[in-house]
Each structure stands twice: as C-alpha cells, then as structure tokens.
Symmetry: D2
Subunit: 299 residues, 4 copies
C-alpha cells in the first residue's frame, strides 16, 4: 500500500519500520526532520509537509499528545487538502473529546477516520507484536488491516465510533497505573514489616498476578531500577489525566484513578518525571519514611 | 505423617482431603461437628476436642478469622497440653498482630509455629494446586513439607519469622482487591461511553492483564454474574481490614487500600456482602448512575 | 465612575445594582438581552455589544465560566478596540491558566487586568456584603476601589499578579467543598449509629465549627433540604475541577479535592446537578445504604 | 458533691481543678502518682486505688485511650466493688465498641454509666469553658450536671444510649482533621503558585471560615509553627482510627477520613508524631516537593 506516516518518535519509528519491512511504500514526516534518517535509508520517502503525507491509500499518525495533533493535523488545513476517501489511522493515545472532534471533522470532508491506539512497549513495536485496538468505519478498517497486520500481533475491532477505541486504551493504561500503584504500596508496607519487595513480588507475580504488566514493573520495583525509562512516568501521568477527563465527561467517578494521579504528581513534584513508571514505588516508600533506604532480600 | 486438622470449611475440607489422598493419617476437628462426615468416610478420624488434634507430628489449622483462632487455639489452653516439638501450621489468613502473638506463645511452650497462608480458590485446593507461602522455623518447615506437597503446587519460603508469610498473603489479597476495583471503575466509565464491559475486558484480560485474577473476575464483571460467590465479598473486606491494620501498625500509608475498603463497605451497606467479590462492579455502576441497567456487547 | 458591566446572572445583576445605588453610571451588556430590564429601569444603560461595555473608566465582567469568557471577551476582538488605560475587572471564578492568558493579552494592548473574584451568595451581593479578593496592577486596583466599596464589605489585596486572586478563590471553594463533604460523611456515619444529623450538627456547628460555611450547609443537611439551590452543586463541581487543574499545573497533589470531585460527580450522575451543594449528603447516605430513608432528631 | 477523679493528664488536672474551685470534694487517683501533687495542695484527697475513687456520688474518668480504660476500669474488678447507684462519667475519647461494652457492664452491676466527652483544649478546660457532650441515663445526667457546670460552658444532651455522645465526639474530631487537611492542601497548592499560605489563610479564616478550628490551625500552618504541640498529631491519628472503626462497624464509608488517616500516618512515618496537628501541612508540602523550603508573605 501507499501510506503516509506522521510522527517518528520511538514508537512511530518502530512501527513505520515494520511497514517498510512488509513491503509497503511509506512517505514519512516528522516535526524534527532528523528522525527520519534511518527510515529513509531503508526505503522510506521523506516528505516536506504533513499534507504530503495525507495522500495515497492511507495515512497513519503517531503524535505525542492532543496538542501535537491539534497543531499538526488541525492547525494548517491538512484535512482540507486531503483526497476524498483517504483513511486516516490515528494510533496515538489522545482524549475522548479530541477523538470525537476528529471523527466529525474528517467525516465532514469525506475522509475516513480510524482510531487505533496500541498496547505495547517499543521492543514489541519493533517486532510487530503490538496489540491494536481499532474503531471506526468498518470498511475503512478492512482496507487498512494489512497495515495493522504488519505492526501488530492482533487487532481488536471495537465498533464504528472511533472514540470507543480510545476509551479502551485509556481504561487499559488506568489499569496499568493501578497495578503499579498497588505493587508500590504493597512493597512499602512489606518493607516496614521487614519483607523485601523482591521476595514479596517474586511470590505474587509468579502466581495470581503472572501477567506481563506485573512481571515487568514488579521486577523493576524489586530492583529499585527506575532508569532508563521504558514507559516514562510523565507520559503515564498524561494518560491518567486523559482517563480522568474521560470519567469526568461521562459522570463516572473513578476514585482509584484519583489516587494514582496524586501519586504520579507527587513523583513529578519530587523530580522523577523522566524516570520509569516504576518510580511510583519511591512515592510509597517516601510516605512510609523509607525513601533512600535500600533493603536486600532476606528470604 | 500423623497430622491433626482443625477447621473444616470449604477450603479446610478440600485440603484435608488432599492429605488423606496422599496417605497421611488425619485427625479432624470442627466447631460444627457434621462438617467432618465426608472426610470420616474417606478415612479421617474425628476427634472430640482441639487438644486431640494437637498431637502427633503436626497439626494444621484453617479457621475463619482472628476471633475463631483466639477462641479455639488460645481460649481453652490447647497449647498448654500439646507435646513439646509439635509443629502447628496455621494456613488461615489472620492479622500480623495475631501471627506475632501466636509465634511468641508457641515458642514459650516449646512448640513450633509455622504460618502458611495459601492462594487459590476451593477448586484449586481440591486438586492440590494451591500456592503456599510459608514462614517460621526452617527445620519445622522441612518437616511439614510433605504435607504442603500434598496440598499445593508450590511452596514459597519466606524466612524464619512467621508473620512474614501473613504480610505476603495480605499484600496479595490487597492487590487482588485493587485489580477488581480497577476493572470495576474502568467498566463503569466505559459503559457511560457506550462501550460494553465485555468488549473492554475481552481486550484487556487477553493482553497485558492475562493473569488468572483478571480473567476470573473480568469474566464475572462482564457477565454481571455475582452469584454464587467464589470469593465472598465480605471475606475480602475482612482481608482488606487486615491489610489496613498491617499498614497502620507499620506506619505505611496505603491510599489504594482505603479506596477499596470504602467500595467494599459500600457494597455491604447496599446488600451485597454475600455476593462474589465481582459485585464490587455494582458500586462503580451505582456511582455512575447505572446500577440496575444492563448492557449488551455492541462491538 | 463610568463603568461597563458584562454578565447579568444572579450575581452580576445584584452587583450592578449596587453600583447604580452608589451613583455610578453603568452600561450593561448580557448575552441574553432580557436580563438587563430591571437594571435599565433603575438607570443602567443597555449597550449592544461587549465592545460598548469596554469603554469609560472601567469594565467589570461576571461571566459564567472559562468558555463564556473566551467567547465574549476573546472571541470578537473586544480587547483590540478598547481604549488604552481601561481597567478590566474580572470578578468571575475562572481557571488559573485563563487568568494568566488574560493578564498577558491585556498587557500587550495597554489595558489593565484586575482579577477580583468574590466570596458570598446572591443575598450578600444584593446588600453589598461580598468579600472581594483582588490582584493585579496596584494603581488599577486603587482606581476601581470605589466600585469594590459599593459591592463588598471588604477587599483583600493579593499582589500584582492577577491569577493570585484566582488561586485564593479556588482554594476557598475547595475548602468549602471539603467542609460540606466532611459534614455529609459524618452525618451518614452518625445516622447508622442512630444519631440524627440534626443533633450531631447542632452540637458541632455551634461549637468549634461556628463559621458561616458550616452553619449554612449544616442546617440544610440536617433538614435534608436541597431545593431550591443556593449554590448549585454543578457549579461547585466546576470550581473543584478548576482547583484540581490548578493543583495539576503546579505539581501539588490534593487528594481531598479528588474525593470531593468524585462525590460531586456521583451526585450529578444520580440526578442532583441542579440541587444545592448540600445534596452531597445524599451521596454519603447512598453509600451507607440510607438514601431515601429519613430520620428525626431523637435527642 | 463527693466525687472521685481518675486520670490526671493535662486535661484531667485542669478539669479536677475546676471541680475543687467549685467547692466539690474530690478524691483523685492517677497511674503515675506525682501528677496529683498540685491538686492535693488545693484540697484534693489522693487515694490509693481506682476502687477508692469509685465511691461517693459520682466518679469521673479521663484516661488516655481504650487500653488505659480496659486496664484501670475493667482490669481489676473496680466495677464489682462499686456501690449500687454510683454514676460513672467517662469524659475521655474512646471507641464506640468500648462505650457499648462499658454501658452494658455498668448496667449489669447496677451502676449508671454516662459518656461525656469534651471539646476544647487545655486552656479552655482550665477556665471551665469546655463544650460537654453527654449521653446516658437522663436521671444520672441530671445528678452530675453540677459537675458539668463547673467544667464546661455548655452541656449538650444526646439521649439515653451513652455511645451516642462518643459518635458525636468522633465525628467532631474527624471534621477537625478534614479542616486541617484541607488548609494544608490548599496552602501547598497556593505556594506552588507563588501565594504565601499566610496570605491565603488570612483571607479565608477571616471570611467564610471564621471558626475557632480554622483560626487556630490556620495561624499555625501560616507560621509553619508545629511546636510545642497544642493537640498532638499522634492523638488525632488515634481519634481518626476510632472514627474509621465507627464507620466500619456501621457500614458507612468515609473516604475523607481515609485520606486524613493516610496523611497523618505519613506524618508519623516521617517523624512528626509529637508535633502539633498543624504539622499535617508538612505532608502536603512534601508531596508538592516543598518540604523544608520556607516562604514569606508577598502580598
């Protein structure tokens, strides 16, 4: 397929690379040009404007946040110049409100808008093992499925209203935050009772909680290893804000999300914005008077 | 081995049955006598008093809560009459404070006290697939390991101080409560946005949250199936109270545990004490103005 | 003084009336024209556009929320046409972010921007008893002090940066929400123990909590009287959202604000958006299984 | 009247002094004997055992907590030796459960039990200005009213079941904790926005929150003055635990109490147990990355 790709951050680069590897023709655009060098050497064509990316069979965008989407996609009339029938697949994590607005604006111009946020860290993106949650016009999704197949191990179809996919993505990241906060609080309590987090989490993440989310972050918490970040804490805070905004507009209280938000904000206020999400554990330790004190397994 | 068994509730019966099946001689005692009938027919010997169970190589207790332990084990001088060197294995979920007191009282009388709470629902107990978390005198644990092997798929050794095992058990049940509360809040928010919990949880519990805890309770929440209870909500509330007490005595704040506690209490106040833990979802739905309204998958 | 007045809701009408009574010349403008009838009969001059109000010595605005301010003040170039040196006094409760943006935009056009949110219900506005919290250019505040004297019993000066006044206002409304939530939770707990809220609150609001906020809302909670609304619950939710946004942008966690937000959202989801803030008590009662059951004083 | 007095801490001494000043004959007993010296010099008679205090017309107890009451009153058969008809007035802050148990045990022995916890700091006790909340047998309350008149400025009668007075006392201390936590969070948020807590609280505690609770603690928070303690933070934590226990046994969720509990526990874990309740502000500052940084008023 002839596909445009906008947004070449860590995730975007890995995903565009998978499209190239699968034989698709990819035109790439990034706000900071150098990001596309590696892809160009593998056959991608760098284009000068977002509008140049909005051509061909489909265009994928993987921008950082709502502001970036507003600036790049809505700010310069990109949609006005796009060919009727083009499918725009937005794979970034954005707000429900913006997803609804984008769906409406695309529809008014005869463009198809598909929301397809992903679950998976960069290493999964690089090997095409992402989980993709897609919602939007069913025909449009069928047309871009070959692209999803190149990037993900599985695509979940969530219906015709695009923002439904974003709801699922935000709910998932909220549940991830809850899992990490729970491990953090449990680890701090255990330490005050003389049980090393490593011993605690070894038992729990190999038993009832033997899921990737628990194993990955449980290991980091146990080792007190917060750098380099796999999933930056500040980005999770951004997603929790979006989850709270989604709850707010739907009149659905989410008290757990409030607690997670406050812990993440506490982490940021105390200098850990750019560490891994696992640094949430430092907040629980600090509340228990333990931050800065290490402890070895005693089991 | 020659082993006593005290406490024949759903879990206790299944565990004692595994001991019989493995060829051990089992003396059983229960506060309400009829409970032992089935075990007696399979070779267990019913004894008249808890003291009769405190004989032989070891005695296992699986009583309902702190009060039951105080009444049965501490209330009638059972420890005073037990033979020196006897190993008492307490497999129930009790408070840290009581675990510490029991360890001291046993030690003062020359008895070995092993805390060995378990993870697993009755069906896992019946098939010997429990996860057992044991702490206490290492020699004593070695001696009762054959009993653990008959009841569990794996034993985790947590060191010499018995209450360490209880810390891990309480932390685990807290994490379970957090997982179910998170799914409940996510499900209510999703429904207000028109996404059926079944669609949401299908994606999430087959991806990053593909652990037993999520799959089991996610399925119940999606189906709004709260009866019959697998894990009674009131029992989880009891365990969260113990986790909060453990946090309190250790000066380790656990805000997530506070939220879970309040949701469970809300469920109890509104009549769901004897439903499954999954009924926590009703609390989130009620807060979002949705309790009593059902919704089908629309994906 | 020659003063414009924009926004004639319940509060705005009462405040503009005070200015007229004090002998000031007042030009009024409102999005829905009829609102100015009563004021016109008392000497106010109705003008056709917001720009017509942005003339003379000063202009006061008392619009509903951020969106209204953006639309009326920023949306139609009003600032571009205003005479240099004009003082704009914004007395509405708006976000910190918008206050900062307004200060900057006014400054760039040579206009003075004073933030002067108020504490007090409509009956206090009608009698000129408001508490006014003002921040902005000191000279500008001195110039408009006669207007403040006509509307309030006291003006608190908070320094030169306008948003400082908004910080104080949002903090105050947050504290009000906390006080009402605390009384609500206490009342529900007391009722479950057989103590009528009226008896409980009679003791407390006449002792250590003998402040207007407690007496006003304590009496409404005790009487379960939520209509007609003095301070609409949905408006308090709006202000708590602004307080949370202020906390968020400042990296200052406010867990109490999170709890209040969730209770207010719960109230809205269950149909009480247009009742008095005191209807927060229904949420606590519902959580305790008591909503809809009344109880008389038994003391 | 001929009255016994048990428990001569800071509050107890001041209250017993008021009884002496009013002309009552007072027999005093304290666990640590020296405490009664000053009272003895003013006419009090020191007695050797709690039983000696349980004589005459009435006996007042003002012990530290549930444990002290259990040890002194229930531990040595004091009730068994007391004369029928004696009125025991317990003015300490104890749990609902213990109040119920005490009422039952006194009734079984023909003794009258009156719960009469007080609001007011030691300086109010010294001048007879306490607010007294009394519940129990109405005739018994009438008989001890002269004692209340000597110690308090007002007595609130709450009905015949003694624990009703304790419910009101615990609710009051919970509301105090909520007020101080709210000021702490508001102060931290304001500081991050450049507004000194002194400026913020000057406005708020002289306006809508002009109650003693706000003025007293607001001034301490503004001045960052946490020593010496007027109301020790660890004692407030004790009372919040009792409030949460009261909520728990009544199935009435109190999420605000959970937040206050966690903040107090955080303060204790970080070394502030023996500072004033106002030190709660340090927790909010620490969460916002500000602990240890001071700021002067800039208004």
């Amino acid at each position: 397929m002839d596909v445009g790709f906008i947004g070449l951050g860590t995730m975007g680069r890995a995903m565009a690379g998978r499209l190239l590897a699968a034989g698709h023709a990819v035109r790439v655009w990034n706000r900071s040009a150098p990001a596309g060098d590696d892809l160009a050497s593998r056959g991608a064509r760098r284009v000068a404007t977002p509008s140049d990316a909005f051509r061909g069979d489909a265009v994928i965008s993987m921008l950082a946040d709502d502001d970036a989407v507003r600036e790049v996609i809505l700010g310069h009339g990109v949609l006005d110049g796009a060919p009727k029938g083009l499918v725009h697949v937005n794979m970034a994590t954005i707000s429900i409100a913006l997803a609804q607005e984008l769906a409406e604006r695309h529809g008014a111009r005869g463009l198809a808008y598909v929301a397809a946020p992903v679950f998976g860290r960069p290493e999964l993106a690089a090997t095409g093992k992402l989980n993709i949650v897609a919602a939007g016009d069913p025909d449009a999704i069928v047309r871009v499925q070959p692209l999803f197949d190149a990037m993900g191990q599985r695509t979940w179809r969530l219906g015709a209203r695009p923002e439904r996919a974003n709801v699922v993505k935000l709910a998932g990241n909220f549940m991830l935050g809850a899992a990490v906060e729970a491990m953090s609080e449990a680890a701090a309590m255990a330490r005050r009772h003389g049980v090393a987090p490593a011993d605690l989490l070894d038992v729990l993440t190999n038993g009832v909680f033997s899921a990737p989310a628990y194993k990955t972050y449980g290991a980091l918490i146990a080792a007190e290893r917060y750098d380099p970040p796999g999933f930056r804490l500040a980005l999770v805070l951004k997603d929790i804000r979006l989850a709270l905004a989604a709850a707010d507009m739907a009149d659905a209280p989410m008290p757990l999300a409030g607690v997670i938000h406050d812990s993440l904000l506490d982490a940021v206020a105390n200098g850990d914005a750019n560490r891994d999400l696992a640094a949430l554990a430092k907040v629980s330790l600090r509340r228990a008077g333990l931050d800065g004190v290490t402890q070895k397994s005693a089991a």
